[in-house]
């Protein structure tokens, strides 16, 4: 995979202060605006309706396309079904030539960006100018860039840069005053609107039942484009189809709220057939020409893919970009194509190139944030992981990774003995309790980054079967996870202490091994299946009531992935289900069954970091706070408490620059609270944040919640 360019783009984005400043401010303003727009609304109910009607449309894509075309023709429009971008471009060029068009105004069309329509029309249809009329689009058109965001294409630029671009265009010396710059755009584009012979627009929704096109805009350029010129071309992708007029209800409830935090955009236009226009001489044209180009360009292929069909549920609100910690650091241009961010990675695979997308999936942290905000209920991180899997299937894993995954990770004894060897071998490299190199995630043995030392004695040698005083209430299997076993045994010991105090008998099944997530993430699902079976077997033997773990990602894998991974093998599926039903995360387990626990007052000032998979996958965030309060800490919330820390498993090794930039933000938010301790519930986050805090020489202890609980036990 050619990551050379991607890495270069990432580095230049991270070093662009203008970019990171604009994106940072935007990212911070977006969430409260969105929340306010959804006030009094049931987001879950709305997104259920949105995803339902979009899923229905995807299921019946061809039927709806035909129905739409028939209806639109009945309404008086001309409809062209374009299989490819090439066909769409040729058709639009022909319309332009037929009408002897020289100037075109355009608004609201990502589809035209997707097929590079402007370029084509200038080169092949004798067009002198295709003016983008959306302010952001115009800005980037003038400076020859690509949009960096689906809704706010020039969000990556500052007023100073815009002033420079406009000064050049108008031959004036313009100040970086936003209101004045907007006025310059109004004045310059007004003439273009009045003189254009053809208007090209896109659409947000295409309704099969009535042949209606719905368009949302704020600036009014969409209304001008569809009103003033006597010829109007609408370029719309098949994915915009919905079956019924009433389907626009939920989409309009969600789209502006999720996109820009508005209850509705300033203008929503619903066009059902051509309307009257005035030609350049002032004569009224009773029915102007309206051409609708219904474009496929990879969308049917996407629909026919059982997994990626889901991506057609997207309503293009771009909230997956708005909440993405990676996008906030590097912007849209590193994605290298028209569609950016999470959904962009997926769309690029089908509408542009699978190879490019295979590389882009490396940008995803799997923090799952986009998934919680997506009004189309698309499992974006899941689809991005699938892209990875398919790339690996096609290209194969690099030899070193293949060897480690297949030969080492599936051989527990070898795997564990190698880690033990590392704990001895690392000794010359240990500085304090941090070492430089550790083959822990097996992705890059010598990539430069600080990691914690492997403990001299792993948890499995310190604990075994621990019986509480009195009659045990239940038999609990302890799942340590690699970090919990070999790096942070003290967390496991603390857990044993708390669990015993709760009256639980705790057992450490010795044959437990890696949960398999690194294999899944690297695109080696067969390795993950082997590990799943090993773990299920190891725990089955013990006759347990519960299986508890301190790591949210391990819990996710044990509880949810195994059943899915083994679903085609009936016998193993049944075993996986039985096993999964017993798995529970630590904070939930203690909240549920540890109500009799007595604590002394710790009195420490503590801030809490929500780990991505704990909060968004397991939906656990109230429980740890409740426990911390019981332990008598003074809990102060930090800004962005559920923002990702940038760890993301092997991500921190694969994308160290981005990981570090995201971590920096987390550390700044942590220190701003003046807390003495940062509490969290994920060993991976601990490794990342503690490493960062250590490197910065800050005096804040990073502790797993369980350690504070154990300290506070009476």
């Amino acid at each position: 995979m050619a990551t050379g360019n991607l890495k270069k783009d990432i580095n230049s984005a991270l070093n662009n202060d203008n970019l990171t400043g604009a994106l940072g401010r935007f990212g911070e303003a977006y969430l409260p605006a969105r929340e306010k727009a959804y006030e009094g609304k049931d987001f879950e109910a709305i997104r259920e309706k949105v995803s339902q009607c979009k899923r229905n449309a995807a299921d019946n894509l061809e039927k709806l396309a035909e129905q739409f075309a028939t209806q639109a023709v009945k309404n008086g429009a001309k409809v062209f079904r374009a299989k490819t971008g090439e066909e769409a471009k040729e058709y639009i060029a022909k319309i332009a030539r037929d009408h002897n068009v020289k100037t075109i105004i355009k608004s609201k069309s990502m589809a035209s960006e997707e097929i590079h329509l402007n370029d084509y029309l200038m080169k092949h249809a004798g067009i002198e100018e295709v003016a983008e009329t959306d302010l952001g689009e115009w800005i980037i058109q003038l400076c020859g860039q690509r949009p960096s965001h689906m809704v706010m294409p020039a969000i990556h630029m500052t007023r100073g840069e815009v002033a420079e671009i406009f000064s050049k265009e108008t031959n004036q010396n313009l100040e970086p005053d936003i209101a004045k710059l907007v006025k310059v755009a109004r004045e310059n584009l007004r003439n273009k609107f009045l003189k254009a012979e053809m208007g090209i627009s896109g659409a947000n929704i295409a309704i099969a039942e009535s042949g209606t096109l719905v368009m949302c805009t704020n600036e009014g350029n969409g209304r001008l484009t569809t009103t003033v010129p006597p010829v109007h071309v609408v370029l719309v992708g098949l994915e915009k189809l919905v079956e019924k007029f009433e389907d626009v209800g939920p989409i309009l409830e969600a789209l502006p709220r999720s996109a820009t935090g508005q209850k509705l955009t300033s203008y929503v236009t619903m066009m059902t057939g051509p309307t009257p226009a005035i030609d350049l001489d002032g004569n009224i044209v009773e029915q102007k020409e309206m051409h609708i180009v219904l474009m496929d360009n990879g969308r049917t292929e996407m629909r026919n893919d059982p997994m990626f069909k889901q991506a057609l549920q997207c309503i293009r609100c771009a909230s997956c970009l708005n909440v993405c910690p990676v996008f906030q650091q590097v912007g849209g241009h590193v994605y290298g194509h028209v569609y950016t961010g999470g959904i962009g990675t997926i769309l690029t695979a089908f509408l542009n190139s699978f190879e490019k997308a295979g590389e882009l999936q490396n940008l995803c942290l799997r923090c799952e944030r986009c998934k919680t905000y997506c009004p189309g209920k698309i499992d974006l991180p899941g689809l991005i992981a699938e892209l990875r899997r398919r790339t690996v299937k096609k290209e194969g894993l690099p030899m070193s990774q293949k060897l480690i995954l297949e030969k080492v990770l599936t051989n527990r004894k070898l795997f564990h003995s190698l880690i033990r060897t590392a704990s001895v071998a690392q000794k010359p490299f240990v500085k304090g309790n941090v070492i430089r190199h550790l083959p822990l995630f097996f992705s890059g043995l010598t990539e430069g980054r600080s990691l914690p030392a492997v403990a001299s004695t792993p948890l499995r040698d310190k604990v075994g079967r621990a019986v509480p005083t009195g009659k045990p209430k239940a038999k609990v299997g302890y799942y340590a996870g690699c970090l919990g076993d070999f790096v942070y045994p003290e967390q496991g010991e603390a857990a044993y202490k708390v669990l015993n105090k709760m009256g639980m008998e705790v057992i450490f099944p010795m044959e437990q091994t890696c949960c398999g997530i690194p294999a899944t993430q690297m695109g080696a699902p067969e390795v993950a299946v082997t590990l799943a079976k090993q773990n299920i077997e190891a725990f089955e033997k013990e006759g347990l009531d519960y299986i508890v773990s301190l790591c949210p990602t391990c819990v996710e894998v044990l509880k949810h992935h195994y059943v899915d991974q083994l679903k085609d093998d009936p016998a193993w599926k049944a075993r996986a289900e039985k096993f999964a039903a017993k798995v529970i995360d630590f904070p939930t387990f203690v909240t549920k069954y540890g109500q009799d626990l007595k604590f002394k007052n710790l009195g420490t000032k503590v801030t809490y970091h929500d780990s991505c998979h704990m909060k968004r996958v397991l939906n656990v965030w109230k429980e740890p706070r409740e426990l911390l309060n019981k332990a008598g800490v003074e809990l102060v919330e930090m800004k962005g408490c559920d923002d990702c820390c940038g760890f993301g498993g092997s991500y921190s090794v694969k994308m160290p620059e981005i990981s570090k930039a995201i971590l920096e933000k987390k550390i700044n938010n942590t220190t701003a609270t003046n807390a003495a301790v940062l509490a969290l519930d994920c060993p991976g986050c601990k490794m990342q944040i503690a490493g960062g805090i250590d490197a910065k020489g800050k005096n804040i202890a990073v502790k797993h919640t369980v350690e504070l609980l154990a300290d506070a036990l009476k």
Partner: protein, 187 residues
């Protein structure tokens, strides 16, 4: 309007006014046509504009814009709008519904006049019947859905004046469309 109906519209109007003003629209309400005429005459007098364009419609005609032109001395026209709307100071058109929950107006803008006067001028004045206030967007969609066969060719929703946040996400009012939206409810 019955007393009972009036009370329910009072509540919807109040909600609409709050929501629309939050979007920088200016909202007025008058009890009858005569007062509508007076209010609009007063507003035009204060706007200091020379040319006003309008889209003929039931409500706009009833307000009697010609008489307003005489009283205020402005040029008032609905002719040759490619030219006239482009340099007029104000455009007047009727919209059909007002959506209380989000402060938006909706209506049939199929006629070229209706569209030209509402998108080319720097100020747009929309007149609307108070009795056509609807509680929310879903009901507005349902209202049009009930008469799907008669769907206007150009159905428009307007909430507040034209706006952008494309530069540094700083909200700026008035881009390609009107920078001011004045809404007059007539009971």
């Amino acid at each position: 309007m019955s007393v009972q109906a009036k009370t329910s519209y009072d509540a919807l109007y109040k909600e609409f006014k709050g929501k629309a003003e939050a979007l920088s629209a200016e909202v007025y309400r008058v009890p009858n046509m005569e007062e509508a005429h007076q209010l609009i005459t007063k507003i035009i007098g204060e706007l200091n504009v020379n040319k006003v364009v309008y889209a003929p419609s039931e409500l706009v005609d009833a307000v009697d814009v010609k008489k307003i032109a005489t009283a205020t001395g402005v040029v008032m026209t609905s002719e040759n709008l490619r030219q006239n709307a482009a340099d007029a100071g104000l455009g007047i058109s009727q919209l059909d519904y007002a959506v209380a929950e989000i402060g938006a107006l909706a209506g049939n803008a199929t006629s070229i006049e209706s569209r030209m006067v509402s998108i080319l001028t720097p100020i747009h004045m929309a007149v609307v019947r108070t009795s056509n206030l609807l509680p929310n967007l879903m009901e507005t969609i349902a209202t049009y859905n009930n008469k799907l066969g008669e769907l206007p060719r150009y159905l428009t929703f307007v909430s507040g004046p034209s706006r952008t946040s494309d530069i540094e996400r700083v909200l700026t009012i008035g881009v390609h469309g009107p920078g001011r939206l004045i809404i007059v409810f007539i009971d």
